[in-house]
Amino acid sequence: MELQVRNDDRTEDVEDALVPFEDVREHLVVVGNGMAGCRAVEELLARDAGRYRVTIFGAEPHVNYNRIMLSPVLAGEKSFEDIVINPRAWYDDNGIDLIVSDPIVTIDRAAKSVTARSGRTVHYDRLLIATGSDPFIIPVPGKDLPGVISFRDMKDVDTMLDAAATGGSAVVIGGGLLGLEAAHGLTLRGMKVTVIHLMDTLMERQLDEAAGWLLKTALEARGQTILTGADTAEIYGEGKVEGVRLKDGREIPASLVVMAVGIRPATALAKEAGLAVNRGILVDDHMVTSDLNVLAVGECVEHDGNVYGLVAPLWDMCRSLADGLTDRHTGYRGSVTSTKLKVAGLDVFSAGDFSGGDGCEDIVLRDASRGVYKRVVVKDDRIVGAVLYGDTADGGWYFDLLKKSENIADIRDLLIFGQGYASGGGALDPKAAVAALSDDAEICGCNGVTKGQVVACIEKGACSLDAVRATCKASASCGSCTGLVENLLAAVLGEDVQSGPKTMCKCTSFTHDDVRREIVAQNMRSIPEVMQRLHWTTPDGCSSCRPALNYYLLCALPGEYQDDQQSRFVNERMHANIQKDGTYSVVPRMWGGLTNPRELRAIADVVEKYNAPMVKVTGGQRLDIFGIKGEDLPAVWADLNAAGMVSGHAYGKSLRTVKTCVGSEWCRFGTQDSTGLGVKTERMTWGSWMPHKFKIAVSGCPRNCAEATIKDFGIVCVDSGYELHVGGNGGIHVRATDLLCKVSTEQEALDYCAAFIQLYREEARYLERTAPWIERVGVEYIKGRIVEDDAGREALRARFLYSQSFSQDDPWAERAAGGNAELHQPLAPIAIAAE
């Protein structure tokens, strides 16, 4: 520490200053400011805060951040600030000297000193090497071209973001976790991405062939090109990377190549200092190297023949290291690892040995349509490995059984269905499942936090998810254990849990269901009243809660509530769909997909008159006119109104279209008049506001040409009547409908449709489609309300029709007549004043 002499005439101070302050504590110098180095210091401080004077050298210009979270930064889900583990204040508060951007280049063990690149030399009593690992660069021609990078630190992320800003194509070499995360992030950032993987299965170290195939299929569905069994011959380009050539001769053009084939322990520094190094720096159970005064921890070490590349073992090592430095002799015994990951948003888990072999038996569950695959490998009645894809909820439980080597003979029949079934509950109660875990079961793999630690932290007063994250760090990194932590909160605190992320938005601590219930119970009548009575924390909400509140009030008070235009998304305020260039697209309603010469002429005239650059037939059987300016909308609507057409609500959380096939009037297979029924259905339902968009279809026979079984409400005509289907969706997650019931007349079909829509309007959360809503409440519940309760159904239908009596005014006609003209006209600057 530097001596400070102040020019000060107060004697006491001068005397204080003149006594040279000598820090007599042992000096611990840490080489590496990454996750392992800092965690080791954290563990040390927790045991004996004042014992060592600590200096940390970092090669990067940053404070300690969570390297695992670089992927969300790349994907745009988090910022660098979000992934900082220890901010500058942590170093200051603990008296740690942090020297960044200055890597250590030599260790002089005889003099017990280290020298950094800048020439700075520091003496140590104990040295901790935490240099982590280096990305492995495959030695192919062109590997040093500009535009070829690895994916290891913030600098790489910045390079990728720069490249993505100009678009184009990227190649990622390596189909392991890191490579797939890079590919996912670059895809989200708008690049066309090809992944080249040497092996036949993606993530072959974590996944078996079946799970790897599911992953590959899912990634391809998102637009990535995945080439497995592909060996890179060279990276070509003049002065910068232009593409990758494979050994089979294929060429993939790219302006960016990310090399993510693996990592190697960074041992060069230790090797040069003469320390014993094999694959990694050799350490004993207290992380001591071949030199008693030099320790090493993390990805750069080799312990008992093992090198680890995951965080959980690293936490174990840091604990043993800190114990050793503070004369506690626990010792590290190696780690059994499991991997629970979100790869590009897909849940993946694996643990133990799943390569099979003598005496190994597989228990497998496949549910291809849900994208779920589970495989548990059993040997001598004990779990030795597990691979889960799509549903990883039971990963922790299998891993716990594996680590404890428990005999599973008694629960073998139900083992694959998960803990809920196997422990006799019959149904899967997540709270019971987490309650049944033992105290040393790991909850958070990223931060190495056990159930016992989470529970202790909750019992000490952490009553919310955020509080748990802030205190013991569980769920603070990748977030895949958030559900487990929430269930632990519920199990420990019962009703007292302060639910964190499930609130409507950051403006309130209430959930959607709470708010809705209170709006009705307290007869609230406006958005400001809701915010006032329910203690909103913001003056006028946010873009998430305002549209929801507007809808809930609209639904609760048909005919009375004054719709708040400023709480509508732009499309619903402008009654047209905004496009990326700020123009709008206009879709007039075509009842049941039917049209006529007059309508088509009017549309053709509009297209010519307003120079619309494109007209497209939509999936909902109508025409979409693109490129209309906001100012022109009222005039366009006036022209369409004149031909008898009204708003198609293609822009709204509302009834979109009723798609039909031609039915018995023309089709030789048709059993009923599907077109006519479609028109009647659309006439009844158009104009209604809903929690989300709502699509209907009517097919004239079970061949189902109108695709009724992927609609929110689908009618399939049969000889003896009408099958009614609900909860279908053709979006990202395709979901086929559930059969609600069969009815015999058109009128019944219409009545059930109205009742179902009203139930959805009243009970689904804002922005929840029918598919997730039905998954949440169960189709049996819907049947109970619509099919089995005649009086209830009739009441729902009546409420719907009452609400419709206020909502079936064409919003276009009102605007065409001059209503809300200010929404379509700019202000006119009228005078210039100078001062």
Binding site: S79, G541, S543, Q565, Q566, K580, L827, I832
Partner: protein, 111 residues
Amino acid sequence: MTDWIDIGTLDDIPQRGARTVQLPGEKEIAIFRTGDDQLFALVNECPHKKGPLSQGIVHGHSVACPLHNWNIALKTGEAQGNDEGCTPTIAVRQDAGRILIARPATVRAAA
């Protein structure tokens, strides 16, 4: 000396809403009126993909871009939260019931 341009009255702009104004040779400007009747003016382009901010939901002293829901601080034009970018701001004031915006430099040079 700043040139000020009269663009209308407070009543011309809906509360928690915005209107636009087009000056010759300039990018379109969005004038925002917040829930507490303060006025702000920004270039009508989100720093992200140039979405028309005037069509966003105004909440507090921020606006959510209608295209991808970036939140932009009305006072500084800066993207909030995890997003980075900044939209140019234009000085705006009220005088005797009229809204005045500062004449942008390029217009002045051209005039």
